[in-house]
Assembly symmetry: C2
Homo-oligomer: 398 residues x 2
């Protein structure tokens, strides 16, 4: 194991260890990784965009690769609505790799032989970072709805504390898909001098009414569950059914008409039931299974807070995105997918156009994919090619 | 008032009456109309496709215009998921016109000066026809989940009883949008000799996994509401919140990205609330309002049964739609809308292609509209032009 530099910067090296995966795959993947936790409770408490305060604030994060001496090779990778800090490699005793393991590792798009990759969980979340399920130090109980409303700007502000802590002055890149892309855009809007490049994928600069509407359905579904109990369920049964329906809606929007057709067709499940409205079609069983399991890893109140933060997201905000971007030195690689109907390509085109209007260097790529919004997690080859080339160019221009 | 011919065939004439509408509009609209109810309880009880029996069966329906002596000018118009028999004109004391009033009336697409237009409610519904909220004669209580599962084929079979009762041997046309279009297609599949033409609009011959998935979310939402109580809520509080969320999902799928943007933008509602997760954006308020009001006119169990019938709908069913259509003499006018992502145009193209392959005369029209699936209720001018011309041609070829 190569030596790390400070908390959280222990490198995750290659592995020769036996695992559940074949040797060929293993050779290209990171080994066992760990999640770290950075807590800051400065003299001045963290102030949210809404004017409320929060202290202490903890962010869960992971790092992969080694930070170079000049600290010029750090890339911040940011996750979508229900993601977490575990972006790559494996956790001890767990067979599931990180959510972007196909993109982060030795020789991969975010090449850990070249770059120091950081993945930070979001403020408001429930995967190790401060959120509504965290203990409110004033009461000794979970915040629940006493947690302040947060925005994507707040998420990014908390991450800036983390990047400060890691001693990194300028990030080589900030990248992410979906809500991760919103955070990437917010980074360049909030801290333009701290970012050399941005890779927003399958995302938007302003959340549309349709996108708000889908999130609102999820929230209403959670709040309609009597177990939600105005957010106070941490001592009892959580609103699992409400969260399950919210997750089902989400899953539909992440896939495409075509990918659903290919995955399920109109096939029936094997087991038929005597109850009339039990799932009969495979697609129903899949959605119900995914919905019901979601409660095991996600806090319903976090779902409310994070979807709300997404809905507030609006870098355009009347004046136009190009005004936000004027004077920005960072380069952009904007990626969209043709079959993504949740964050349709025209929203990414709008980002690229705003860059041009603001005189910011931007590459726009619209990839053919039938995977819908999920494509940013699945279309590895095309994305890798674009990202690798882009990062090399940015790195070379240092 | 011109004389009618038998129950339900009383003509609704033009009106000169003062109303809430302007004279110009009034001159082109039907006056006060009434809903009729046809109940059949033959010696042989109605058998569903699933092999269960039902008796008696009532269908609510309305008629507009006059049936000619040869009974060759009858058009059956069929409604979508939450529609009813009230397609045109006004009910006494009610300011809302029928759901397709813009298309049905003197001089309109379905010209009541020329044609005798019938609109039938569906079996399984809750707007006057036999459904899960009807009294089960065996128990004296509402059927609830003892109501048999029904299919679109069952809906159409019940309508055939109504058409028999009206003494109509062959319908000039069967027309409808969305689920109404499925019924129109089913009419030609079940009773090809009874139909001279078909106008399926914004519909499909086979319900796709994505379409099933959206319906399943609605069902899960209803069934997750504790007030649903396994369908036994007729003596108490209905599952209004579950139904509301189901309706919200529906509304999103009926609109387009663009139409939502035009209607709501990212505008905030005027009234701000102290509760964090109250609707703030106009789109949220609209969906919540529409969702909450839905319980006033729709039975949650009917929502379960009808969505299930839609999900079962599959005229392709392995062998291909062209096999169903082979030998069919009816002409088709297939209409789709470019921005309809719930029933995308490629599904209508598939119907038109199957017609060609089966040697059935079909016209396919894909209309430019930004209204999404709702376009079949809104795009009056373009549809009227197509429908008028088509019906004249069919009528002339008698």
């Amino acid at each position: 194991m190569r030596g790390g530099i400070g908390q959280g910067m222990r490198a995750s090296g290659h592995t020769g260890a036996e695992g559940t995966k074949g040797a060929a795959e293993e050779a290209e993947s990171l080994a066992i990784v760990e999640t770290y936790y950075y807590t800051f409770a400065s003299e001045e408490p963290f102030e949210t965009e809404g004017g409320e305060t929060l202290s202490p604030v903890t962010l869960a994060y992971e790092t992969y690769g080694i930070l170079n001496a000049a600290k010029t090779n750090a890339i911040l990778v940011l996750h979508a609505l229900t993601g977490d800090a575990h972006a790559a490699g494996w956790h001890e005793g767990n067979k599931s790799p990180g959510w972007w393991d196909s993109m982060i590792g030795p020789g991969k798009a975010f090449d850990t032989d070249r770059y120091f990759v950081i993945c930070s969980n979001v403020l408001g979340g429930c995967r190790g970072s401060t959120g509504p399920s965290s203990i409110n130090p004033r009461t000794g109980k979970p915040y629940a709805l006493n947690f302040p409303l947060i925005t994507v700007q707040d998420m990014v502000k908390a991450q800036r504390h983390l990047i400060d802590h890691l001693g990194i002055d300028r990030l080589l890149s900030v990248a992410g898909g979906s809500m991760g892309g919103m955070q990437a855009l917010q980074w360049v809007a909030s801290y333009p001098e701290r970012v050399r490049s941005v890779i927003p994928i399958a995302t938007t600069a302003t959340h549309s009414p349709q996108q708000i509407a889908f999130n609102e359905v999820g929230r209403q579904s959670i709040m309609a569950d009597p177990n939600w109990n105005d957010g106070n369920y941490y001592d009892g049964e959580p609103p699992a059914r409400g969260l399950s329906v919210a997750r089902m809606v989400g899953h539909i929007t992440y896939m495409s008409d075509i990918s659903m057709g290919e995955k399920f067709g109109r096939r029936f499940k094997n087991s038929r039931s005597s109850f009339k409205f039990d799932p009969e079609f495979e697609v129903e069983g899949y959605l119900q299974y995914r919905g019901e399991n979601f409660i095991k890893r996600f806090d319903p109140n976090s779902y409310l807070y994070i979807t709300k933060a997404i809905d507030y997201f609006d870098l355009v905000n009347g004046r136009g995105l190009q005004e936000v971007l004027r004077g920005v030195k960072a380069r952009f690689l904007v990626i969209a997918f043709k079959s993504d109907w949740l964050y349709p390509a025209h929203q990414s085109q709008e980002i690229a156009r705003a860059c041009k209007r603001a005189g910011v260097e931007a590459t726009y790529a619209e990839l053919n994919s039938t995977w819908g919004h999920d494509a940013f997690l699945i279309e590895v080859d095309q994305q890798s090619h674009l990202v690798k080339h882009f990062l090399k160019k940015v790195m070379a221009s240092a």
